[in-house]
């Protein structure tokens, strides 16, 4: 289904474009914006019903460049503001745009609670593993030991795995994609849009200005290397990867743990994002989490769980089944008394 304007004209990416993006040349955010502009007209949602709310960061500038309703808010709080929009207005399609610092550091609390409640938000977490806007300090998603202006001797912090965090908060839809793979991102964003409830999509995003992504080079061919990645997840298919599908995600027969190995070995895992237990998705999220180039992309988990919005609106509808309560009755109550006019 596509979106049309009042006159029935099909909308295109151009209709969703506002202003000229001001990110650094080569920044992954350009690709994401472009994909959003192309995706939105295909979702069958009237343009005026999109609301995009962001926090603060390079990534959070995105709403300014989309011709929808939008708000560039304050650092970390976008999920809370978006919650206030979404639960009150089930007719709207509410998106959150956030960065790894915005979502995982200052806004960590709001992120987990939005996911826990299953508010009907599409949360796009642009993960460049750095604080871009403030010029390159380490973020909660930065690999330990990374040298940045605020960690000249290497960062000490253990890093968050955003997907593991989201799964821990029992998010009903968790996925990862990368800025460099347009087709994949469009598929994942469309799946997120179709999901009823919170959808968290981590978008691995390149920041050529501050995150140079020095890569460890290994000559060892007995284990998968970043060049074999990313691992692509397809529901119902065995998880194979590498140029010749020579690698696979395996389940260890003894421990039940997931591991990487040769596709010829026993125990190749068939991907099932609908598994009711989050344990499987959690194990997947951890499997190559120190190797961003290798780490699986795709939908990790997509399960049905009643959305907060639906339940909230159902309550309201039930309570007002006989019409809105009478204000005078409320104010007067049943414990009032009358002082008569004196004659």
């Amino acid at each position: 289904m596509t979106s049309a304007d009042a006159g029935g004209k099909q909308l295109t990416a151009k209709d969703f474009s506002a202003g000229e993006a001001r990110w650094c040349p080569g920044c992954g955010d350009h690709a994401i914006l472009n994909n959003m502009r192309n995706l939105m007209p295909t979702l069958g949602i009237p343009r005026e019903n999109f609301v995009v709310i962001s926090g603060i960061g390079c990534s959070s500038r995105l709403p300014y460049y989309l011709d929808t309703y939008g708000m560039h808010s304050i650092h970390g709080r976008a999920p809370s503001i978006a919650t206030g929009v979404s639960i009150n207005r089930p007719d709207l399609s509410v998106w959150v745009v956030t960065g790894d610092g915005d979502a995982l550091s200052i806004g960590g609390n709001h992120l987990i609670h939005a996911l826990r409640r299953n508010v009907n938000l599409k949360i796009l977490l642009f993960n460049n593993q750095i604080y871009g806007l403030t010029k390159g300090q380490f973020s909660p998603a930065t690999k330990p030991g990374t040298i940045t202006p605020s960690s000249p001797f290497g960062s000490l912090d253990h890093s968050f795995n955003p997907l593991a965090l989201a799964l821990g908060a029992e998010a009903s839809f968790v996925a990862r994609t990368v800025d460099t793979d347009r087709k994949h991102m469009m598929e994942i964003l469309a799946a997120a849009a179709a999901h009823n409830g919170s959808a968290l999509v981590e978008i691995r995003q390149n920041c050529p200005t501050f995150n140079h992504g020095e890569r460890a080079v290994t000559a060892d061919t007995s284990v998968p290397t970043p060049a074999d990645g990313p691992i692509r997840l397809e529901a119902g298919s065995p998880i194979l990867f590498g140029a010749d599908s020579q690698w696979a995600v395996l389940r260890d027969a003894e421990t039940g743990d997931l591991k990487l190995g040769r596709s010829t070995e026993k125990g190749v895992v068939v991907h099932n994002p609908r598994s009711t237990s989050p344990t499987y998705a959690y194990a997947l999220a951890r499997i190559a989490d120190t190797e961003p180039e290798l780490a699986p992309i795709g939908v990790y988990r997509a399960v049905e769980r009643p959305s907060f919005d639906n339940q909230y609106q159902d309550r309201l509808a039930d309570a007002r089944a006989g019409g809105r309560g009478d204000l005078q009755d409320l104010l007067t109550g049943n414990d009032s008394w009358t002082v008569p006019a004196r004659s």
Binding site: M71, R77, T83, L330, D335, A341
Partner: protein, 662 residues
């Protein structure tokens, strides 16, 4: 007790008014007891003002002075404004309650104690060396030592209650007895208990009702209680009345505003004493299209409210001091976005956790200035429990009309206190409806019609609001500075200066009613030389004190501020007409400092932060002294003078921004 009137029946004495305090352990149900007594009195047509006082802990150690919970009521046949200074009647449910509250009882007052609770261990816990019931130390009072616990247990015998539960009905026995003493019908309490205990095992209700009735019978048949008292209905203006607490009045005021605006009410909140009851009240009102949302913290609570406002709701957030601090960044955003939002701060003792269950007025300057950047917003304060309704309604009205966050200040004293409230006639409430934009109001860079979110109404400077879902008006707003008119991001220096000034002008331009002075001796400059001015919950005590002063034949003027920002236009000229301006405040002189800054006068402060409201007699003593000094030509009251006349506050220049800090 206050003056007795002519006495037609020798066994029923008529009083103009009485102050009663119920005191007991936190687990003794004193809040319920006091609340019911107040409701009964209100239904009987008395004017009632109440003052609950409870410890910060849910259950402080039982039997200790620190765990005493009390509830004071002032019941009168005339218009009163405070819960009274000194109880005439004190009901003490255990030694600790007696120890904690006896000092307040008027000499010669009536003292009812539960003798059943006066055992050696309880006396020790309360810190008594000897039993006050027998050692003669209570000889100044009319003492009724009644085994309330034992009688309650006796009254509930055979109903199948466990001994512990039977003993717990002693508060109802006490309520029955005191209701008898004051000739109050208990029917409404019976109905209340039936509802409250509907879901409990039936013997609980039966036991409470049995004790309540036994208390009434006990008064009727016991010789010790030879006389009872009667307080006639107060001559309130005609109308329908209800016993109303401040926090509920705020909830009702907001619901009424949403109704009058034709909008749903959306509340984002996180529990915090003493604001929580507003959340509780609003959560019940779902059938009135009240959408309440308990967020994960105060930041998320205001965040959700901002989202709700953007989406077209009448949005509200309620909190107390620490929560206000957390919200301050988001308030800045709401100011920048120019969205309607009501922020209620029910103040308590601070800083930090401070005195969470006690009252204070120390967030005034936080409300006015506690933000980053030039971030003006309207601030108003409620002055009494019933007034909370109007104050909340007005706050919403300004927020909607001017598209701005508004801070409404209340405090623990009026939040939990109650008084008769004249139920408004809904058909007489003003219409607060606003129009959302439906058409473009400008032209975009591409030459096509566009929506310009910052193209203001020239009179009010309010910006147009277009809510999501409105075709053709898609637009972005944000915390970055916006170009005047179009609302596009702008880093232009002149534009920022213009926007900063425009936001200030928008708030400054709000028309607030002129300040009125209450002075029977004449208008400003022609009557009293002393003006007492306050804001918020000090209205009642200041008013009561002024009446006491006038009863002595002295002249005194009173004025009270509803609007703290913007201030009434006639404020400076009024203040200039008096020799001395006295500002009693439950802080260190925040309004005093503000008046000095805005009106170039040198007010005298009278301040205390003791967690309790001012006592009217204390204020009256201070006022009287000042009036007399002014007559003698020298008003120089020192803190020593204050002590000498029984005052507990500090007198002098506002301690904020004074000479010594320059």
């Amino acid at each position: 007790m206050t003056t007795e009137l002519e006495q037609p029946d020798p066994r029923v004495r008529r009083l103009k008014g009485v102050v009663i305090r119920f005191a007991g352990d936190s687990g003794d149900g004193m809040q319920l007891t006091g609340d019911r007594f107040g409701a009964q009195a209100a239904e009987a047509g008395n004017d009632v003002a109440t003052l609950p006082d409870f410890p910060a802990e849910i259950r402080a150690p039982a039997g200790t002075v620190g765990g005493v919970s009390s509830y004071q009521l002032h019941v009168a046949d005339h218009d009163i404004t405070t819960p009274g200074d000194q109880p005439d009647v004190l009901v003490a449910m255990n030694p600790a309650a007696l120890k904690a509250t006896l000092k307040d009882l008027r000499p010669g007052g009536v003292l009812i104690v539960d003798s059943g609770a006066f055992n050696v261990r309880a006396l020790e816990k309360a810190g008594y060396d000897s039993d006050p019931l027998t050692d003669g130390s209570l000889s100044n009072y009319i003492l009724h030592a009644v085994d309330l616990t034992g009688l309650a247990v006796g009254a509930t015998e055979g109903l199948g209650l466990k001994r512990k539960d039977a003993a717990r009905t002693k508060n109802m026995f006490a309520l029955g007895l005191v209701s008898w003493m004051f000739n109050q019908p208990i029917e409404s309490t019976v109905a209340y208990l039936e509802k409250r205990f509907a879901k409990k095992p039936p013997e609980i209700l039966a036991g409470n009702l049995a004790s309540l009735r036994a208390g009434v019978d006990y008064g009727d048949t016991t010789e010790a209680f030879a006389v009872s008292y009667e307080v006639k209905p107060a001559p309130l203006p005609p109308g329908t009345y209800r016993h109303m607490r401040g926090n509920r009045a705020i909830a009702f005021g907001l619901v009424a505003a949403a109704h009058q605006a034709g909008m749903p009410l959306f509340l984002g909140a996180y529990p915090i004493t003493p604001a929580t009851d507003v959340l509780h009240e609003l959560s019940k009102l779902i059938s009135h299209d009240v959408r309440s949302y308990q967020a994960e913290d105060e930041i998320a609570a205001i965040g959700a409210a901002i989202g709700g406002a953007f989406a077209g709701m009448l949005a509200v957030t309620v909190t107390s001091g620490p929560g206000m601090a957390l919200k301050s960044e988001a308030i800045g955003l709401a100011i920048s976005l120019e969205l309607p939002l009501v922020i209620v701060n029910v103040q308590r003792g601070g800083p930090s956790t401070g005195l969470p269950t006690k009252t204070e007025q120390s967030d005034l300057l936080q409300s006015l200035y506690g933000r980053h950047g030039e971030a003006p917003l309207p601030v108003l304060a409620a002055q009494s429990p019933a007034d909370c309704f109007n104050a909340a309604f007005e706050a919403a009205q300004i927020a909607l009309e001017r598209r701005t966050p508004v801070i409404l200040l209340s405090d623990s004293y009026i939040a939990n206190g109650s008084e008769p409230w004249k139920v408004p006639d809904v058909s007489e409430l003003p219409d607060l409806g606003i129009e959302f934009a439906t058409e473009p109001n400008g032209v975009g860079k591409d030459g096509k019609p566009a929506f310009h979110p910052y193209k203001r109404d020239p009179r009010t400077l309010a910006r147009p609001l277009a809510i999501p879902g409105t075709p053709g008006l898609e637009h972005r707003i944000g915390g970055l500075e916006k170009a005047d008119g179009s609302g596009e991001i702008s880093h232009d220096a002149d534009n920022h200066d213009l926007m900063v000034r425009t936001r200030q002008n928008k708030v400054d331009g709000i028309e607030v009613p002129p300040l009125e002075v209450d002075d029977p001796s004449g208008p400003p400059g022609f009557g009293s030389k002393l003006l007492v001015i306050g804001w918020g919950s000090t209205y009642g005590p200041i008013g009561a004190a002024c009446r006491l002063v006038r009863q002595q034949g002295l002249a005194i003027a009173q004025a009270h501020l509803r609007y703290l920002n913007p201030l009434p236009a006639n404020l400076a000229s009024i203040l200039a007409a008096y020799d001395t301006v006295l500002v009693p405040e439950m802080n260190l002189g925040q309004l005093g400092g503000l008046l000095r800054m805005h009106c170039q006068i040198e007010p005298v402060g009278y301040t205390q932060t003791r967690g309790l409201p001012f006592r009217a007699v204390e204020l009256a003593a201070v006022f009287t002294r000042l009036v007399n000094d002014l007559e003698d030509g020298a008003a120089a009251l020192s803190t020593e003078d204050i002590k000498a006349i029984g005052g507990t506050g500090k007198v002098g220049r506002s301690e904020l921004g004074s000479e010594k800090n320059k």
